[in-house]
């Protein structure tokens, strides 16, 4: 059952992105920015966690889930350190994902060459 929920909610979030691409000519980079910002705001309100509780990876794997991680991180850090936490919490929580992306991308760039399209 958790796979069905993950599929439907995750697929649904992607459909929203597809509609935005087809209807508004937003580039995929803008979609990524928009989704992370939206996820962060929804996370700040505590709403996105409810979606994750329901859909699991269906909500945490799409990019709003990344935004939600930023929001949760910053709120936990504010709880722990006070006002200064607002500055450090977001990137701290995202550090794992960002660093992984950098490391794997660098390795891939060293190993692979551009493919013909």
């Amino acid at each position: 059952m958790d796979y069905v929920k993950a599929f439907i909610v995750g697929g649904g979030i992607c459909v929203i992105g597809q509609i935005l691409i087809d209807k508004t000519k937003l580039t995929s980079a803008r979609i990524l920015v928009l989704f992370v910002v939206l996820g962060c705001l929804l996370g700040g309100l505590g709403w996105y966690d409810k979606l994750i509780d329901f859909a699991g990876a269906g909500a945490s794997v799409p990019l709003p889930g990344f935004g939600n991680t930023l929001a949760k991180g910053v709120m936990a850090e504010v709880d722990a350190r006070g006002f200064a936490g607002a500055l450090t919490g977001g990137l701290k929580s995202a550090a794992g994902g960002i660093t992984a992306a950098i490391v794997f991308a660098f390795l891939a760039a060293v190993i692979f060459s551009p493919k013909e399209k």
Binding site: A6, A29, I111
Partner: protein, 150 residues
Amino acid sequence: MAKREIVKSDKDYDKLVKEASPNSPIVKNCIKAFIGGGIICCIGQFLMNVLSSYGLVTEERNMAVSVILIGIASLLTGLGWYSKIGRFAGAGSVVPITGFSNSVTAPAIEFKKEGFVMGLGAKIFTVAGPVILYGTLTSIFVGIVYYFVR
């Protein structure tokens, strides 16, 4: 005057493009995005379930799922397969965290030939940079608001 002519021909070109494009493939695109995105999320769910059975707690587990998906997507991008997935799934391949990984890896590979510092190094954040910038700004906003209302 030359400028006006260019603008005019741009408009004409837009019109031509619109006429030549197949009529509203949006439903088809959405179905493909749904399937592609759904499958990627199910792979994420599978990883989540496996890692849970090894006793990882929620936050470590979710981070591990992200890191594994990011690694797989980097590899597929390097092999040139992720763009094939993208051609089928559209937003279904862009919106999941794998799309973020692809957006970091693809320019890194593409611009390696322009050098490791100003090529790979500068272009690696072409898409991820804006995402991290606005994500971070939003998180600061959330943090400040949270500080005052919690």
